[in-house]
């Protein structure tokens, strides 16, 4: 059993959390006012530049088209972040996607270079078109709103359920943990500039789910331990520490399994293709969510709970004194 004293680090945890959240907020706001994006929105939300190469497989091989394109990109100093191939026989297409930060003129020049390699200049029937801008119309706020409604409803339900099953202080601490971890997750997204794609928005639900699993395990352990005489004699802080220490391995194991899975997915999908755009950002986002949840659930939450419990115990003691005092007064009056 570890000897960690979770409850004593409240000030440290509060400072760390506040610093990360504030830093995320500040960086997000700076980016919002300088480049118009609080988060680093992915292509589905922010759009992208692209070059579409159309060619006939009877004329020219896909490898040759790709080589011509790579040469053109190298010559013009542009780099794409993803490509897709489509179509077959006479209607083959390759679409290269560039971040909006890439120079539009250079992208257009690269397209011209490809065009001359696959088009009539080279006696082929292909064509390369540069689309200097794709203004995406997918509205991030709609996706986030739906995710927020579902996550909020889930958090409120958890609060009510814990209130019924456990105690008010535990329900409140779980509620604080959900909100804290979610805030931390979004701050980390803003800080690390991980691209926010629709899948990353969905990952915010994962953050809350992992937190709920952790809190459920921890508070159940606490409830059990608080029934023993040994724990009853302890202070709220010692009680919370003991229970948190006891639940720590299981909560960490669950988070570690999910984190390891994400890491594995990241490694394997990196091997899967030349570009890991599709899953890299969701995996990275999910790993941040698990990290935020592990920190918030195992360190921050016991510290918060111990204080809430201390207050609740104090109030209960005052009530008891008041009740006993009132009873004594009534007896004296009689």
């Amino acid at each position: 059993m570890n000897k960690l004293r979770f409850s004593s680090g409240m000030l440290v945890y509060a400072i760390i959390s506040a610093a990360v959240i504030a830093a995320g907020l500040v960086l997000g706001l700076v980016m919002h006012f300088t480049s118009g994006a609080f988060f680093n929105w992915g292509g589905e939300y922010a759009g992208f530049r692209s070059i579409e190469v159309q060619y006939s497989a009877f004329d020219i091989k896909e490898e040759d088209v790709k080589k011509a394109a790579e040469d053109a990109f190298a010559d013009n100093g542009v780099s794409y972040y993803a490509f897709v191939t489509a179509g077959e026989s006479t209607e083959c297409r390759i679409e290269y996607r560039f971040a909006s930060s890439q120079d539009a003129e250079a992208v257009a020049k690269a397209a011209e270079a490809i065009d001359s390699a696959v088009g009539i200049d080279s006696n082929f029937t292909g064509h390369a078109t540069a689309y200097t801008e794709l203004a995406a119309e997918r509205n991030a706020s709609v996706d986030i709103t739906y995710a927020a409604i579902a996550v909020s409803a889930a958090v409120v339900f958890q609060f009510i359920y814990f209130l019924i099953r456990f105690r008010l202080a535990m329900a409140a601490a779980a509620f604080v943990a959900d909100v804290h971890n979610l805030a931390l997750f979004y701050a980390l997204l803003a800080l690390t500039r991980v691209q926010v794609t629709p899948a990353v928005v969905a990952v915010s639900a994962l953050c809350v789910l992992v937190t709920m699993i952790g809190c459920g395990m921890m508070f159940d352990r606490m409830r059990k331990l608080f029934r023993t005489d040994e724990y009853k004699a302890m202070s709220s802080f010692e009680q919370a520490d003991g229970a948190a220490r006891s639940a720590f391995p299981m909560v960490t194991l669950v988070n570690a399994v999910v984190f390891a899975a994400l890491l594995l997915m990241l490694v394997f999908t990196a091997i899967a293709g030349g570009t890991v755009f599709g899953l890299f950002m969701p995996c990275l986002g999910a790993m941040l969510a698990v990290l935020a949840s592990q920190y918030g659930t195992t360190l921050f939450t016991p510290a918060v709970y111990s204080r809430l419990k201390a207050r609740a115990d104090k109030r209960a003691a005052e009530k008891q004194i008041k009740y006993v005092g009132a009873k004594k007064s009534a007896e004296a009056a009689e």
Partner: protein
């Protein structure tokens, strides 16, 4: 439990589990290369991150691509002259616009800007329609100023994506193409009849085309004043759309439907649902429609969802400025690499093996029993996901891994508690009883919370998040049921063991001391 009974039950469960897992995960060619068995996993519909998407570029009338223009110019002669005469290059150089489309009275550059602005407005309307269509992903964007690139998931399962099922490929491609076709319809939403109603622009157009004339039965009442909403519904295998009317719309439709249903007043007893000049649904009207809402059943779920998204947008006054054409739809490979789905599956398998290895290393034969139920859990997850028809996205796979972590975590939690009880000197039977009793409430709490959260995610959210909610729901239920099944199998498999502590990798302090 006796040895024979234990062996029989273990053999039956193990065989059933292996069979479910084998047919759930492994695809193989059948003898003689006649056909191929595609596993249940290979038949689950995949999201665009795993099987790519289907895209096309919508162009309004009078706009052509630079590729088409250049191709015409390469032909030289009359064709090249005609193109050079007809079209003007749009800013950006990706498109050419017919000069007739541009407003003759204004400056050409200004007219091009106005055209681009209207196309941008249409893209926003289209984005709203695709968002309402409940797709796991979609993309709508103005491409090069004058084209609208739309992409929807291909809807392929892995067998189709990998080319093992070419029939399903064309079916899925048609379905995706039909979604784009329905949602990109331009023009206003009107209810029409061949005899009853008032003339409008569509009637004039039909007259000009010498086709069957139809009349607007709502008259001068705008669609947005007549309709509150159009929503998709499904009930007991019946799919359709539910149309809600405003008080004004209700009154007008009541009057119109009474007249249409009356054979003396109208020879056509059909209310025709139009978007632009296209008739989409003919509704036979046999009596007056008096209710504030009415349902129309549609043949299949996909079409019903498309109608609901299109009608809701068009009836809400969000008609497209133009009619859009597209040559073809293209099924694109996955942006994250062609084999993303395979490698994702391999990574989940590696993780599964790691969990199993941990269980066996820590709990010996009990770990083996757990491995069997974990295999059953995976098989059940795969089978139910397939049967429910959930689309598997990357986040869906994360959620499935979370469910596996929940299942493994809950079992290990109980095992650890039992180990503690056993270490404290209880007999194994008592330790199991007490251990499960002590973890019961915590595990129940977890599953109840996750069950409700998954229901909320499924019902409240749309697209990928809703699919995740469904996978979590399946995972939570499977985890809870199989948690207790693991206990049962523990009891069954442990019965014949002589040294029950060794079977579980546990020790008993009191007993050891005694020895």
């Amino acid at each position: 439990m006796g040895k024979i009974r234990s062996a029989i039950i273990t053999a039956i469960v193990a065989l059933a589990t292996l069979a479910l897992f084998f047919f759930g995960v492994v695809s193989f060619d059948l003898p003689g290369n006649i056909d191929r068995y595609n596993s249940i996993l290979a038949n689950i519909g995949l999201g665009s991150e795993l099987s790519g998407d289907v895209y096309t570029v919508l162009l309004p009338e009078g706009v052509i691509s630079a590729a088409e223009y250049d191709s015409a110019m390469a032909e030289e002669g009359a064709v090249a002259d005609e193109y050079a005469e007809t079209y003007v290059e749009a800013p950006g150089g990706a498109y050419y616009v017919d000069k007739e489309v541009l407003d003759a009275e204004s400056d050409q550059q200004q007219a091009l800007k106005d055209l681009a602005a209207k196309i941008s407005e249409d893209a926003q309307v289209l984005a709203g329609r695709f968002a309402n269509r409940n797709l796991t992903s979609y993309s709508v964007g103005v491409l090069g100023g004058y084209g609208i690139r739309v992409a929807v998931p291909s809807g392929y399962d892995y067998a189709t994506y990998a080319g093992y099922d070419l029939d399903s490929r064309s079916v899925a491609l048609n379905a995706s193409s039909s979604i784009i076709g329905y949602l990109s319809r331009g023009g206003e939403f009107t209810l029409r009849n061949n005899d009853y109603g008032s003339r409008d622009a569509i009637t004039s157009s039909q007259l000009a085309d010498d086709s069957q004339e139809t009349y607007n039965i709502l008259g001068d009442l705008d669609a947005k004043d007549a309709f509150k909403s159009v929503k998709y519904f499904a009930m007991g295998g019946v799919y359709g759309i539910r149309i809600k009317l405003t008080a004004e719309g209700r009154e007008r439709l009541s009057e119109a439907s009474a007249a249409i249903a009356d054979t003396a007043q109208s020879s056509d007893q059909t209310i025709r649902f139009y978007v632009g000049e296209d008739e989409l649904i003919p509704l036979t009207c046999e009596s007056e429609i008096t209710s504030a809402s009415f349902d129309i059943t549609v043949g299949d779920e996909e079409t019903a969802r498309s109608y609901a998204a299109l009608f809701d947008s068009a009836a809400g006054g969000n008609a497209l400025n133009f009619s859009y054409d597209y040559d073809d739809v293209y099924d694109a490979t996955v942006a994250g690499g062609e084999n993303t789905a395979v490698f994702l599956a391999v990574s989940v398998l590696v993780l599964f093996v790691a969990v199993v290895a941990f269980a066996i290393a820590r709990y010996r034969l009990l770990g083996l029993t757990f491995s069997m139920t974990a295999m059953l859990f995976s098989g059940v997850m795969i089978a139910v996901t397939y049967l429910v028809g959930v689309t598997l996205t990357a986040t869906g796979v994360f959620t499935a891994v979370l469910a596996l972590a929940l299942f493994a975590g809950c079992n290990f939690w109980s095992f650890e508690q039992i180990r503690r009880e056993s270490d404290a000197g209880r007999t194994l039977q008592a330790a199991v009883k007490t251990g499960y009793k002590k973890t019961f409430s915590g595990i129940l709490d977890l599953h109840v919370v996750l069950f409700v959260v998954s229901v909320l995610l499924t019902l409240v959210c749309r697209g990928a998040l809703s699919a995740c909610g469904m996978i979590l729901l399946i995972g939570t239920l499977a985890s809870y049921i199989l948690h207790w099944f693991t206990r049962f199998m523990w009891y069954v498999t442990m019965s014949p063991a002589r040294d029950k502590y060794k079977f579980c990798g546990f020790s008993r302090e009191a007993f050891d001391n005694y020895e």
